[in-house]
């Protein structure tokens, strides 16, 4: 659906119309994702052979609990940020380029949904490139010239990552003669001891790690987030890295199987320390940033670290925590970025010093930011608390005290960087008192608060998220036995 909408947007050549189309398309995608999730939950895995060729020769689309869940996140975030994008984008980018933005947006969405849905590893690569190419475009569309260099850097890193994935896929194909994920998972154990497969594994993980901005391969991310238009940052924060983490899960558990990934390759021993260092280094980096958007970028790197920690615990609880955090972090980061979008709309900057005193002028916007920030810290009644809870529980289950303590300490770092913003916004006098700042328009506020309410709602009523995450985790771990 979004794939169809993309080119049409280009043809329409009209900002409003292309926006309308993009929004409709993504809402439809969202509802399709909802029904898919519902069906998967009640009927089990759905498969669909593209072009009529049966698997393993044809390209197969395969939907189980986990990717139905990720589909829901991706399409949901896109559906909510698009209404926000209209007003915000008109302000932030050149009006003549707006239709390009929506075209790229749709392509990016297609790519992300495609990666999630497909059951074929080469198809993953193709969709990955669709998503990446369109996201380079999205970032470069901002008015700030620095977005160009940010996009270029992202392009270089992204292409290297994608090529690594390509090499990994080639090596796998050499050894097994198939590209279908299910087929791969059956054939790999037979050849698991060869060096080729191990190389393939390494190439794939490094490639995906680059895309997921896994520490220490995260350098492209903060700049890319900081200079992209706000709505685009929100989309990326909620979706792009999440899909990469999903791929990581997919390859670890489905394609290679936990036994190979963790017993043979012992990747948990590498990932866990890296993720921990990532959480701390990125959080500390976030504390010293003077630009709030960039700060949130670093914070994203840290949060991805949490997901990887969850995954590398290799237990049902740990993976549940990882998947939960995937969902929850998408919600909170998107909420934070859109509320920053409101700030940009009114004061034209996200530098900390320029935000002095906005709390009083824009109570609703900053209220949203505070709630989102608290969610990031993990204060109860927000989604952040639920994922922290599960993560700690998973750590305790392994009797890893130090890990539980470190996770808690790191959330205090989040408290520090969020609170710096709050203090500036509420308790500093505006730098330029003469300037009149008013509240952001309702078209921006409504989507912002929708996201915030989702943050609170899923923090209180967790039956959906926890239930699905748990089932998905069991499914992933279950493929091992």
């Amino acid at each position: 659906m979004p794939l169809l909408a993309g080119p049409v947007c280009l043809l329409l050549h009209h900002p409003r119309l292309s926006w309308g189309l993009a929004t409709t398309a993504s809402w439809i995608a969202f509802f399709i994702a909802l029904t898919l999730l519902d069906q998967v939950l009640s009927n089990g895995t759905i498969t669909y052979a593209l072009g009529g060729w049966a698997a393993p020769w044809g390209i197969e689309y395969r939907i189980d609990e986990i990717n139905a869940f990720v589909l829901l996140i991706v399409s949901g975030i896109s559906a909510i940020t698009l209404p926000f994008a209209r007003t915000s984008i008109e302000y932030e980018i050149n009006p003549r380029r707006i239709y390009i933005l929506y075209t790229a947006w749709m392509l990016c969405l297609t790519g992300l949904l495609g990666i999630t849905i497909t059951g074929d590893v080469f198809n993953v690569f193709v969709f990955l490139e669709i998503a990446s190419l369109s996201s380079y475009t999205l970032i470069s569309l901002s008015r700030d010239p620095r977005s160009l260099t940010a996009a270029f850097r992202y392009l270089v890193m992204g292409t290297i990552g994608a090529t690594f994935i390509l090499i990994g896929i080639a090596l796998l194909y050499i050894m097994t003669g198939t590209l279908n994920m299910m087929d791969l998972s059956q054939r790999i154990p037979a050849v698991a001891d060869t060096r080729t497969v191990k190389m393939a594994f390494t190439f794939l993980i490094v490639g995906i790690g680059l895309k997921a901005a896994l520490f220490p391969m995260h350098f492209w991310l903060p700049n890319a987030y900081a200079f992209a238009p706000s709505a685009v940052s929100a989309l990326f924060a909620g979706t792009a890295t999440k899909v990469a983490v999903y791929l990581l899960l997919r390859f670890f558990f489905t394609v290679f199987g936990p036994e190979f990934s963790f017993d043979v390759m012992q990747s948990d021993r590498v990932l866990l320390p890296l993720a921990l260092v990532g959480v701390f280094a990125a959080s500390t980096a976030a504390i010293v940033q003077s630009d709030v958007k960039r700060m949130l970028g670093y914070s994203s790197v840290a949060q991805i670290g949490y997901m990887v920690i969850g995954i590398s615990l290799v237990s049902v609880l740990g993976v549940t925590a990882g998947i939960l955090h995937l969902f929850n972090h998408a919600l909170m980061k998107a909420a934070l970025f859109v509320s920053l979008g409101c700030v940009v709309y009114r004061i034209g900057s996200t530098r900390l010093t320029d935000m002095a005193g906005v709390g009083r002028a824009m109570p609703w916007t900053m209220g949203a930011f505070v709630v989102g920030g608290l969610s990031l810290v993990g204060v109860p009644l927000t989604v952040g608390f639920i994922s922290k809870w599960y993560l700690i529980l998973a750590a305790l289950e392994q009797q890893w005290w130090w890990l539980a303590v470190l996770v808690l300490v790191s959330s205090l770092l989040a408290l520090i960087y969020i609170w710096r913003v709050v203090e500036f916004a509420y308790f500093k006098a505006p730098a330029d008192p003469a300037r009149e700042i008013t509240e952001a328009p309702a078209t921006l506020l409504i989507p912002t608060w929708l996201l915030i309410l989702a943050n609170v709602y899923f923090g209180i009523d967790t039956s959906l998220t926890v239930g699905v995450a748990e089932r998905a985790a069991k499914l992933l771990m279950g493929t091992a036995s």
Partner: protein
């Protein structure tokens, strides 16, 4: 009214009040009426729960399930009811007082002030009525967050620094220790409900109990155990009504209340007594008690001195809880009440002096007592009550605490209590004494000083009388506390 409904209503009523206050932003008189009406209604609602609890019921309300097996739920038990009664009752008095104070000082952002106050009260009642540790934790955090704007109210550099220390210490201890302790408990016991006799028996290696207990006690940063007491003096930059209600009553008492609650309902007194897990924390409490008293003596700023005095008095309650016998726990529970009345009186007086003279240092206050006799009279009563002299309420709680130490066979702790009481005399009594008899040489315009505005005076007289009433009628307090241990 159905008691379960009343419990729910008690939590939501102040929130409703807060909404009303926001809506009436532009009409100060109506706004303050709403505050007072809400406060009165809250007290009535809480009071309506008393008969049910006395007859042995524990009204419970179930709100929502967060994670399978873990829900937000309320249950009213005697200790919580006692705490809610004190908090809601003193809210009325404080509201009257703060109207006088805020207007007298022309403070800014008054609406924000009242709103945060109401939200804080809602959180306090939530803490009081929590049916499990998770609910308690949530309201505890809400209390911290809602009082932060109150602490940083003035918006000056100093106020913000105070606010930062306040928030940083309270949130970091609660997330760093308390949350960990909670998850640990949940992991070992499979529940977080408050159950009489505790939930940890046979669930955890006894050797680990002291560690878990330390996590809980340090995690409840609001109980101000050293070395996590720094937030309390820092929070004294807040306007005085905030210091009074929040730092003599709601916030700090939420801390020690949680300590008592954890002792009784999570660990269970029998378990703690059997395993001697409390020794280490008991010493920490004793050290806090003495050290804070000593620090208080060196402080010249009146509010800072009161703050350290609070730290020391809170340690009494923690100490009582750590002695884990019925008498000491009754003493601890009563001390929550008697100290609340005594300390709020002292804070009210400090505020009254500030409104009338804008003085904050004790050494500048010589001779003020002659100009403000009512204020200083009330201050004397409050000080005596905290020291624990008859005919004031403070004696009862100290009495039970002292007997508790003897019952536990901790002679040293008895000595600690007595020494600390002497220190109380040394740092509290001089203030009113110099106020009455000191030379007022430094005040050329002494004649210009009058009593503080009427609402302030009414409030502080009321709480001072409260101290006296508690001496003559301690039965309701004792009765409630004794209910806790019935059948054990």
């Amino acid at each position: 009214m159905n008691p379960a409904m009343a419990a729910l209503l008690a939590v939501f009523l102040p929130l409703l009040g807060a909404v009303g206050i926001v809506l009436l932003d532009k009409h100060p008189n109506l706004r303050e009426t709403v505050t007072l009406v809400t406060a009165a209604a809250l007290f009535l609602v809480v009071y309506s729960l008393v008969p049910a609890v006395y007859s042995g019921h524990e009204p419970a309300a179930h709100l929502i399930e967060l994670v399978p097996g873990l829900s937000l739920a309320l249950r009213v038990e005697p200790l919580g009811l006692l705490f809610a009664l004190i908090a809601s009752g003193l809210w009325i008095v404080t509201s009257v007082y703060s109207i006088g104070y805020m207007r007298g000082n022309d403070e800014s952002h008054q609406t924000r002030f009242y709103v945060c106050f109401a939200v804080a009260l809602s959180a306090t009642v939530g803490v009081a009525f929590a049916a499990n540790m998770l609910t308690l934790f949530i309201f505890y955090e809400l209390l911290t967050l809602s009082t932060y704007p109150l602490v940083a109210h003035k918006g000056t550099e100093e106020a913000r620094r105070g606010g930062r220390v306040y928030l940083g210490l309270l949130l970091s201890t609660s997330i760093g220790f308390l949350l960990l302790a909670m998850v640990w408990t949940w992991y070992s016991a499979g529940t977080l409900d408050f159950v009489k006799g505790g939930i940890l028996r046979d669930k955890l290696d006894p050797g680990l109990l002291p560690l878990l207990l330390a996590l809980y006690l340090f995690g409840i940063g609001k109980a101000a155990l050293m070395p996590f007491h720094r937030w309390l003096p820092a929070a004294m930059v807040a306007p005085t009504p905030v210091s009074a209600l929040l730092h003599a009553v709601a916030v700090v008492k939420a801390g020690v209340f949680s300590v008592v609650k954890v002792t009784i309902y999570i660990f269970g007194t029998d378990l703690l007594r059997d395993t001697d897990a409390t020794t280490f924390m008991m010493w920490i409490a004793a050290i806090t008690l003495l050290a804070a008293s000593l620090v208080a003596m060196t402080k010249d700023n009146l509010k800072a001195r009161l703050a350290y005095s609070t730290v020391s008095q809170l340690a009494y309650v923690t100490l009582g809880a750590m002695l884990v016998n019925t008498t000491a726990l009754i003493g601890a529970g009563m001390h929550i009440a008697t100290h609340a009345f005594g300390k709020i009186t002292l804070f009210f007086c400090a505020g009254a002096i500030y409104v009338a003279t804008h003085k904050t240092e004790i050494s500048d206050m010589n001779g003020l007592g002659r100009a403000m006799p009512i204020t200083y009279g009330a201050m004397l009563i409050g000080a005596l009550s905290i020291i624990g002299l008859p005919p004031l309420g403070g004696i009862w709680s100290k009495w039970y605490l002292a007997i508790g130490t003897l019952e536990a066979g901790q002679g040293i702790m008895l000595a600690v209590l007595l020494i600390s009481s002497l220190l109380n005399v040394a740092y509290l009594l001089p203030i009113p004494i110099y106020g009455f008899f000191g030379k007022s040489s430094k005040q050329p315009n002494a004649a210009a000083i009058n009593e503080a505005p009427l609402p302030i005076v009414i409030a502080l007289v009321f709480t001072a009388l409260g101290c006296m009433v508690l001496f003559f009628y301690p039965e309701p307090l004792y009765g409630l506390m004794a209910l806790l241990f019935e059948g054990q």
